[in-house]
């Protein structure tokens, strides 16, 4: 379980490559045994953040604390952190067994908790075999790396890092090269490994579904800034801003005006909502999930429109509906299909209307990380 103790803390971390600002003033803490995902589009700075924690990059300013002491200037090989690299970075001059044993072989017998060199060999053997079992690769000891499939290489990369019993495991889009089915399997396996071993995982991905599936906490990053930190449900249900809403799942994002507390106007219609504390007549972003738009008869809908296109998505139909009046293109998910060209009405219940401050990534408000493990 996630403990309250802050294992890693980033304070005001900035990173520039020449004139390019990759990270702006990032504050983030990571708790012991937490599975935290850094989620964002390519180039948002998430990998750089991971590399700073791993010690492969130095922050331009700010500090990284590990159990309260500064990590700056401590090289990767002295950190109790291991990494699963994006392209696995396995040693192809060594076989599977020696790849996994690589880190342990570098340690002294004392570091492994044994007395002699002979015991060290036995201890390494014990740990390597336990890892092979954990990643379900028993019997592959003598195989050469080049003879493994992508999924198998990926498991060896995980085993090679985990065998060192790090405090923290960094994973840089480790499932990116796998096919969908294998990826889903590995997501669940990674999550169960993490719970079984009680190791903190910091996971980088651009795949929002992956983040929602595995994480205790998600930090959504864009333009080198953290946009929102929270548990998956909170991120999905209460996105901080239009970017988060759009990146996590699909969204209809509309311009609206907050008339008063719990009343918002968009598409020339007033809607009851559950958001308070906005200024009177403040322009806001209104976010409505496609599955939250209910299709009703044209005569009873709060809004009306014409179905433009229908795509069958398996579980549901995705319809594009052109709203009357301002012509906004609504994306609507429904299990019942309305054929293209038909007239429909749409209603949205108050708690499915999410109101956000107008904010661009450049002047984003600083994100406060909630201090406790709330649901």
């Amino acid at each position: 379980m996630v403990q309250d103790m802050r294992l890693i803390e980033l304070k005001g971390v900035c990173k520039n490559f020449g004139d390019t600002h990759v990270l702006h003033d990032v504050d983030l803490y990571i708790r012991k045994c937490e599975f935290i995902t850094l989620l964002g589009p390519s180039g948002c700075g998430k990998t750089t953040l991971l590399r700073i924690i791993g010690g492969f990059e130095m922050p331009s300013s700010g500090e990284v604390l590990f159990e309260g002491s500064d990590l700056t200037g401590i090289p990767p090989y002295k950190r109790r952190i291991n990494t699963v690299f994006q392209k696995y970075a396995l040693f192809n001059h060594l076989n599977v067994y020696d790849n996994i044993a690589f880190g342990l072989n570098l340690k002294t017998p004392e570091q492994l908790g044994v007395g002699s060199k002979k015991e060290k060999k036995a201890e390494i053997d014990r740990r390597v075999r336990r890892m092979l079992k954990l990643v379900k690769m028993e019997g592959y000891e003598k195989r050469s790396i080049d003879a493994l499939s992508g999924g198998q290489q990926q498991r060896i990369a995980i085993a090679r890092a985990l065998v060192n019993e790090p405090e923290v495991l960094l994973l840089d889009e480790p499932l990116g090269a796998l096919d969908l089915k294998l990826r889903k399997e590995m997501q669940l396996e990674l999550k169960s490994m993490q719970q079984q071993l009680g190791i903190t995982f910091i996971y980088v991905t651009h795949d929002q579904e992956e983040a929602l599936t595995m994480s205790d906490t998600i930090a959504v990053i864009n333009g080198g800034r953290i946009q929102q930190i929270g548990d998956p449900k909170r991120i999905y249900d209460e996105p901080n801003n239009a970017f988060v809403a759009d990146f996590i799942g699909e969204s209809n994002i509309l311009d609206g005006v907050m008339l008063e507390d719990d009343l918002v106007k968009f598409c020339d219609t007033e809607f009851q909502c559950v958001d308070e504390g906005f200024g009177t007549n403040e322009p806001v972003d209104v976010v409505v999930r496609p599955e939250d738009v209910m299709l009703v008869g044209e005569d009873v809908g709060m809004l009306t429109g014409t179905v433009q296109s229908v795509i069958f998505k398996g579980v549901h139909y995705e319809m594009m509906i052109c709203g009357d009046g301002n012509g906004f293109n609504w994306k609507v998910h429904s299990t019942t299909m309305q054929p293209a060209g038909s007239r429909v009405g749409m209603t949205i219940v108050p708690y499915n209307i999410h109101i956000m401050h107008k904010a661009t990534t450049a002047d984003a408000v600083p994100v406060q990380q909630k201090p406790s493990k709330e649901a």
Binding site: G54, G55, F56, P75, P76, Y77, I81, N82, T83, F85, Q86, K87, A89, L90, F91, N92, H93, L94, F102, G103, L106, K107, R160, A161, N164
Partner: protein
């Protein structure tokens, strides 16, 4: 027309100028001048004056290979390093001497190392006195290293350049300090390049000729010079036979070395030419 026919000009060329001559060499090696079968040509080989030359060739080629490796590996490592922007131009600089004829380069080396040459002029100007280089094994070794160094640098450079940088980061991540990164990962992973470099330096060095003759004023002969000398000995009626048997022995020695190196790099990943 079958695709294999496209290689027929090459096959014909090889047949006429490699296979047929090699058969002649074999014929001469195993016969006397009057055409009867004999192994006596090979017995010549164990005579001390010949054996000494072969051993010296092997010794100098070995020294040359080791020196090339010691000088070439760090160079290749530096050139292949990240964040070094002038690698391409430096590689060209390393290749540049290879665009010139080997004899020209060796003549240049002679002028540099000569008793009244550039090196000694410089030493004298510094008040250090002259040193005698030309005619020593050291001079021959310098000539060999100078000529074959690029063949060591290039294959190692190619392998190191292709190496994924994240492998080095993975080694650091798993606990390697900078020295161990090199000994545990970089060097083992560049073995194919090293093998290729060793082959491409050792083979030509052990059979080289002209370099040694020129840089030793004819005093030091290597295997290549020896074969050359035997063939051109006008007085000896068996010169073609003995020369051929020596050529065959060198060929077998090289085949053995290749076989040995193939064991180290079975996939020939270094892209060696041998």
């Amino acid at each position: 027309m079958k695709r294999s026919w496209y290689a027929s000009p090459y096959a014909l060329w090889m047949l006429l100028f490699a296979v047929v001559p090699l058969l002649f060499v074999c014929w001469y090696a195993f016969t006397t001048p009057d055409g009867t079968f004999t192994l006596s040509n090979f017995q010549e080989f164990v005579k001390p004056r010949y054996m000494g030359v072969i051993l010296r060739s092997l010794k100098l080629a070995l020294y040359c290979t080791v020196l090339c490796l010691v000088i070439g590996y760090p160079t290749a490592y530096f050139l292949a390093g990240r964040g070094f922007n002038h690698a391409q131009s430096l590689v060209v600089l390393i290749l540049l001497p290879m665009w010139m004829n080997l004899l020209l380069r060796t003549y240049a080396m002679m002028t540099l190392l000569d008793d009244n040459g550039v090196l000694n002029a410089a030493l004298e100007a510094l008040g250090l006195g002259k040193i005698h280089v030309i005619g020593t094994e050291g001079a021959v070794l310098m000539g060999l290293v100078y000529n074959y160094l690029p063949f060591m640098v290039l294959p190692i450079y190619t392998v190191l350049k292709k190496m994924d940088y994240s492998v080095i980061e993975a080694a650091e991540d798993l606990g390697c300090n900078p020295l161990r990164v090199i000994t545990r990962v970089v060097i083992p992973m560049s073995v194919p390049g090293i093998v290729s470099g060793i082959t491409m330096v050792f083979m030509p060095a052990v059979t080289s000729f002209a370099i040694s003759t020129l840089l030793s004023n004819g005093k030091i002969r290597l295997a290549g010079d020896l074969i050359d000398y035997i063939f051109n000995q006008s007085s000896n009626p068996t010169r073609w036979n003995i020369g051929s048997s020596f050529s065959l022995i060198m060929l077998v020695l090289i085949l053995i070395s290749i076989g040995f190196l193939r064991k180290v790099d079975p996939d020939n990943e270094g892209g060696g030419m041998w």
